[in-house]
């Protein structure tokens, strides 16, 4: 029932593949999509991914640099797939250990991996094991407890009929007590026996003789000493009158008698020292103490030299420290934990070289992942795109959106300054029709920019113009008119300024989505400030969600790029850059570092990661 199964090296060569019967489409496309969206975007924390109608599960083998991917239809829920991949991985590794261990790609290219028979056998085993655990059959009515209750006992009446109730209960409990041997440890379902034994005590005291009461109490006592059973909250109706008399001391599973379970000292033993200490602990006591110290040192050295493969436990403390470090540097908390999980997945089973510690390996891997996240996944060259639009005789439209007060209008002015420095004509569309003074602010910027680049230099035409229609009007309409005006007047770039809005404000988010869906800008830039912490995740997710929901087309326009503002206010707590690029997968196009026109920069991934990893 699997659609396909591939084994390929991380260098891209497919070692072995299997295509299910009746499947005609090639699996290259879905697997490539898996690689690009999951592995390369450091989302390898959870190991499943869905692409169109297929659901893909994968496993990384970091020792031999292999990837195992299985694909099946999304509508099927196959329970054996996880274990199956693990089995296949172990089998493949064991069988082709020699070829895989050789360095260089020649061995992989030249050897032929005839894995079909093994694979079919493993698949058969997996399918059979999943079938073996059939659905649990329901109990028949006769086997249940309800059939043993008398009808009368289930009738709840107030006051008078207590005797009948108790009588009925006594019958039921007498039967049960007959079955339960006193010497056995009491099981869960028989935990009801002591409770019901107590109730018999409470309810049936009148009916029993003294000896029988004593006998019952003795049996109870023995049962309690045997197993310390968990008291189930009894579901059968208890007469309220008897409650104070019968209130028993509650017995907790971990409480009272022994403190053995509370001793956690063994589980915290040092892994590195254990190896050294175990051999040396056998020595005589007076020597033991000082040998113990030496053992610790040897253990550390042993950890440095020689090839050791990384396991989850080795990496756990280092990853925790790194996670806290990232959070301290203003990376959003869930992003930091997802990143650390992804790095753990990437390093699990990897063999370390000599003289490399776990910490250095993990830090190196984390640094590589961070640089990879910050690298743009597409070409970012706005000037080139503007030239392209100019050659097609249409204006290049950039829309700025974001929450309140992040610096949209300021950075819009900076970007228009940069554009006019490079000789492009700019039209600013004032689609912020809500905030008081928004239009005046843009008019002031326009005047200043025109005075810096006077119209005389550009053939008598002002290089920056403002298109505004006052306050209170529909922003999407103003944007559409502005773009049409720009096309008529042959402007190169249109910068659309929108009002700031909180991501939870549904009507405003709808309005923004309508503006973008109707006008189809070339670039939708989300303006976010570098000071934001965990909020960045919420803002971006909700903005993208709103844009996707309210667009009518199949391919909705989402956020295409990020402008990171107020970068000069953070010292080296540059984590917001990571949060934003991780969530959207889009590059940071501009970085705002101040309030003058020259304070516009591009992002240098290495410098940001260096500042982030600096202690």
């Amino acid at each position: 029932m699997l659609d396909f199964f591939t084994i390929f090296s991380k260098g891209g060569i497919v070692l072995w593949c299997f295509q299910g019967t009746g499947v005609t489409e090639s699996f290259t496309g879905p697997v490539n999509a898996l690689i690009r969206s999951v592995i390369l975007q450091e989302r390898s924390g959870n190991n499943s991914y869905s692409h169109d109608a297929l659901s893909l599960k994968y496993k990384l083998d970091n020792e031999f640099e292999l990837v195992f991917v299985v694909g099946f239809q999304k509508i099927l829920t196959l329970t054996y797939v996880d274990k199956f991949i693990d089995d296949v991985q172990l089998h493949f590794r064991d069988r082709y250990k020699n070829e895989l261990e050789q360095k260089g790609a020649l061995a992989l290219l030249n050897s032929h991996f005839a894995f079909e028979d093994d694979f079919k056998m493993l698949l058969r085993e997996a399918e059979e094991s999943s079938k073996a655990r059939g659905p649990t059959s329901m109990r028949s009515f006769n086997a249940s407890l309800k059939s043993q209750k008398t009808v009368k006992s289930m009738i709840e009446t107030k006051g008078g009929d207590k005797g009948k109730e108790q009588g009925g209960k006594k019958n039921k409990n007498a039967k049960k007590e007959g079955k339960a041997p006193a010497a056995e440890p009491v099981k869960g379902e028989k935990a009801k026996a002591p409770t019901s034994a107590q109730k018999t005590e409470e309810n049936g005291n009148q009916g029993l003789t003294q000896e029988e009461i004593i006998q019952k109490k003795r049996e109870e006592f023995i049962r309690k000493r045997m197993g310390a059973p968990v008291e189930k909250p009894s579901k059968s109706p208890k007469p309220v009158k008897e409650k104070p008399k019968g209130k028993e001391k509650r017995v907790w599973t971990l409480g009272g008698s022994s403190t053995k379970e509370l001793d956690y000292s063994q589980s915290n033993g040092n892994g590195a020292h254990a190896a050294g200490d175990q051999g040396l602990d056998a020595q005589a006591d007076p020597v033991c103490a000082c040998w113990g110290a030496f053992g610790g040192m040897f253990g550390m050295l042993k950890g440095l030299v020689g090839s050791k493969s990384l396991s989850q436990e080795d990496m756990e403390p280092v990853l925790d420290k790194m996670r806290d470090h990232l959070i301290a540097k203003n990376v959003a908390a869930e992003i930091a934990s997802q990143l650390c999980d992804s790095v753990a997945k990437k390093l699990e089973g990897k063999v370390m070289g000599t003289f490399t510690t776990v910490a250095s390996t993990v830090k190196g891997a984390l640094q590589d992942s961070l640089v990879q996240i910050l690298q743009p996944k597409r070409r970012v060259d706005i000037l080139r795109d503007v030239l392209e639009a100019r050659s097609q005789r249409r204006p290049f439209v950039i829309t700025f959106c974001g929450v309140n007060g992040v610096g949209k209008s300021t950075n819009l002015a900076k970007i228009s300054f940069w554009l006019i420095e490079n000789g492009f004509t700019v039209l600013i569309a004032a689609c912020d029709t809500f905030r008081a003074g928004a239009v005046e602010q843009l008019r002031t910027h326009q005047r200043r920019l025109n005075s810096l680049h006077p119209p005389q230099d550009h053939g008598g035409r002002p290089i920056v113009q403002l298109y505004e229609k006052g306050y209170g009007k529909d922003a999407a309409g103003i944007a559409m008119e502005a773009i049409a005006y720009a096309r008529n007047q042959a402007f190169d770039v249109v910068l659309v300024d929108t009002a700031g809005r909180m991501q939870d404000n549904t009507p405003l988010m709808t309005a923004l989505a309508k503006l973008i869906a109707v006008n189809m800008p070339d670039l939708v830039l989300f303006v976010g400030e570098a000071l934001v912490g965990n909020e960045a995740v919420d803002q971006l997710v909700k903005f993208n969600q709103a844009l996707a929901d309210h667009s009518m087309s199949d391919k909705p326009r989402l956020i295409d790029g990020i402008v990171l503002t107020k970068f000069d206010t953070i010292d080296d707590k540059v984590g917001a850059a990571i949060s934003m690029t991780y969530i959207t997968g889009q590059p940071i196009v501009f970085v705002g570092t101040g309030q003058t026109y020259n304070d516009l920069r591009s992002l240098n991934a290495r410098a940001v990661v260096g500042a982030l990893m600096k202690a």
Partner: protein, 286 residues
């Protein structure tokens, strides 16, 4: 200094006045200050165990030899001995890698890491160097180029000829990034632009690709130099490609640039041979 001058005058005067005896005297006098030290040293050395002495001498010799050896090895590493296969994602680098090394057709996926293997060139000398296949995905490209650029003696830039028209700006940007890199412009490795996927009917010819790239690089020179500087102040590449004032042409570059056509898949599909004869010939000339 005065004392020294006086002393030297004295010795010269001595030598001048009584050459024979005083020469010896001065020689003795000069040796004398060192004599006690030499004697003491000789005594100390004789006191020691001769085996110990031999041990010290041997260890010093070993250290010296190791240092010389290491220097030799380290200097050898920086010698360019690798040919890099670079290009955009999905341009056919990994398949080309497989064809060049083993001649076989292999299914490929997007590479996440580099692969390297020694390659024996098809020329009389039988020279062999290392062929390295770098991943082409945008987020991995810069790191891997950074890692391997100093070891490159030649770069094979693989271009997907079939979808070149759509991708021309991306191809040109990557090529610009490679050519303006400081290490590359210093080492000047030769560049072979392999226009791959010629088996597809819509594939563009190498000549057309060359012309389009030249036009695009011309524009890129302007836009890239006007790009914003990075936030920590480091500016972009300051290497200017080609000649100022004139349109960009590949012949203006300091390195040898060659455009050729090839098809890694081959015209006969998976089982046939690949059409990489011209590529192999160029590689043999390296």
């Amino acid at each position: 200094e005065e004392r020294r001058r006086v002393l030297s005058e004295v010795t010269v005067a001595d030598m001048a006045t009584e050459p024979g005896i005083n020469m010896e005297a001065t020689i003795d006098a000069r040796e004398n200050p060192f004599e006690p030290y030499l004697d003491a040293l000789k005594k100390v050395l004789e006191d020691q165990d001769p085996i110990f002495m031999i041990g010290i001498v041997v260890s010093l010799a070993v250290v010296v030899i190791t240092v010389v050896f290491l220097k030799y090895i380290l200097s050898r590493k920086t010698v360019q001995s690798a040919v890099l296969l670079v290009g955009l994602c999905d341009s056919g680098k990994t398949l080309l890698f497989s064809r060049l090394l083993s001649g076989k057709f292999k299914k490929t996926q997007t590479s996440i890491t580099d692969s390297s293997a020694p390659y024996k060139a098809k020329n009389e000398r039988g020279s062999s160097w290392i062929l390295i296949d770098l991943p082409g995905h945008d987020s991995l490209r810069p790191q891997y180029v950074e890692k391997f650029k100093s070891a490159a003696r030649a770069m094979v830039f693989v271009v997907d000829s079939a979808i070149f028209q759509k991708e021309v700006r991306d191809v040109a940007e990557f090529l610009y990034f490679l050519l303006t890199d400081s290490v590359v412009s210093r080492n000047v490795p030769s560049l072979i632009v392999a226009c791959n996927k010629q088996d597809i009917t819509m594939a563009k010819s190498a000549k057309l690709i060359r012309q389009q790239l030249e036009k695009e690089m011309n524009t890129l020179r302007v836009t890239r130099s006007a790009a914003l500087s990075a936030q920590d102040g480091s500016a972009g590449a300051s290497v200017h490609l080609g000649k100022k004032g004139k349109d960009f042409e590949f012949s203006q570059l300091p390195m040898k640039v060659e455009f050729l056509e090839c098809s890694a898949r081959g015209s006969k599909g998976e089982d046939g041979e690949a059409d990489i004869a011209s590529l192999e010939k160029s590689l043999a000339l390296l």
